[in-house]
């Protein structure tokens, strides 16, 4: 993967530091955050690029920069901005009766999602071009599907860990390389004649799509936020089966290649299992062993729910205005 194009002052600084044209990043230079952190193209791209050093890195960037103190310090400031925006965003989510059973509270938060359904739109109305746009946007996550939650594995007690690994093992194909969910998504992109290389569509992913991804990386990379990471996982898996069935129906309605529908078929079945494992075994065991994490688990689930509302609302909003849900293609200078 190569470094993306900068979108503003923050991402310019980060990209220049990584490509060697700047000697250090100054965390004190960030004095204010944008009004809408979650939708901010520049901040989210800067953070996404910094997180990517921990995943696959960039061809032209030294691997040693992953832990360079100035790079980590700069990332920390951006993360503080994202974390406070997320905490504010979930304030309106009802976390249920504090004395009620934990699993009931978690399910209540997960089921509190509102707003228009992207899956229903794809099932009934989306055009082939809109599905292709959506898949490019989704590739930001799906080409590293499940990886952000894997950071948490060594941070859990044994019983919780065994449940998480059971789920992740299935996500990673249960020993079969061709069934790794990220690999299945790459096949989906190939079948649509879209670039399936890692990071291929970053330049066209809007800030909110990167924010969705950055939130997962932040929860996963900070042991302090392990509860939020697992709450996020539970909400993600629990709101997947039924929508995936709708996506598969929409894809077949449009007569798109079978490899496209197959990815969603797999998720109908897999996620019906994963939601039970994630809610009851992963989160249930985590909180029974560490009751102080209950609030963080609910925070992660609520953040997922709210973020999905923002993502679905933004995509459907763009389409209703006759626009693309991707950023415009950057044209190289025309003579």
């Amino acid at each position: 993967m190569h470094l993306p194009r900068a979108r503003g002052p923050l991402s310019t600084c980060v990209i220049e530091r990584l490509d060697g044209s700047r000697s250090r990043l100054d965390p004190d230079a960030i004095d204010t955050f944008p009004d809408d952190v979650v939708r901010d193209d520049d901040l989210q791209l800067a953070l996404w690029v910094l997180y990517e050093l921990h995943y696959r890195g960039f061809a032209e960037v030294s691997d040693a920069l992953e832990w360079a103190p100035d790079v980590i310090a700069f990332r920390g400031v951006l993360e503080a901005g994202l974390e406070s925006a997320l905490r504010e965003m979930v304030q309106s989510v009802d976390r249920g009766d504090p004395d009620g059973p934990f699993v009931d509270r978690l399910l209540e938060v997960i089921e509190s999602g509102a707003g228009p359904s992207l899956a229903t739109y794809v099932q009934r109305e989306a055009t082939t071009e809109q599905v292709r746009e959506l898949m490019q946007q989704r590739s930001v996550y799906h080409l590293k599907e499940s990886d952000p939650h894997s950071w948490v594995i060594p941070r859990l007690d044994d019983a919780t860990k065994s449940a998480l690994v059971e789920l992740q093992y299935d996500e990673y194909g249960a020993g079969r390389a061709d069934r790794v969910h990220a690999t299945m998504f790459a096949r989906l992109l190939d079948a649509l004649d879209l670039d399936s290389s890692y990071g291929a569509h970053i330049d066209r992913a809007p800030g909110y799509a990167l924010a969705e991804n950055n939130m997962m990386s932040m929860f996963g990379l900070h042991r302090r936020l392990r509860g939020a990471a697992m709450g996020h996982l539970a909400a993600f898996e629990s709101t997947s089966s039924l929508p995936c069935r709708r996506y598969a129906m929409g894809i077949r309605r449009l007569g798109l290649p079978e490899a496209v529908a197959e990815y969603y078929d797999e998720h109908v079945e897999a996620d019906a299992v994963h939601e039970q494992v994630a809610v009851r075994d992963v989160c249930g065991r985590l909180v029974s062993g560490a009751p102080q994490l209950e609030g963080d688990v609910l925070l992660g689930a609520a953040a997922y729910v709210r973020m999905e509302e923002i993502v679905a609302g933004s995509i459907l909003g763009a389409w209703s205005r006759g626009e693309s849900c991707l950023l415009p293609r950057q044209m190289d200078a025309v003579a």
Partner: protein
């Protein structure tokens, strides 16, 4: 929580599917065997799934009697 390697564990989730661990296949009421390679599978208990015998989440949208 622990089971012998050759044992199958079944746990019914309240208002949800049955989670089956350690099975190579599930036999339906017509006697057809449905193989699986997943470490754990969710078997439909509400009878409304479109992907029998596997759960597809439909139980969540049917009214609880």
């Amino acid at each position: 929580m622990s089971r012998r390697a050759d044992e199958v564990e079944v746990r019914v989730v309240p208002n949800g599917p049955a989670l089956v661990r350690g099975a190579d296949a599930v036999r339906d009421e017509d006697g057809c065997s449905h193989p699986t390679t997943r470490p754990v599978v969710a078997v439909c208990m509400c009878g409304k799934t479109q992907r029998a015998p596997w759960c597809d989440g439909t139980h969540k949208v049917i009214p609880r009697g």
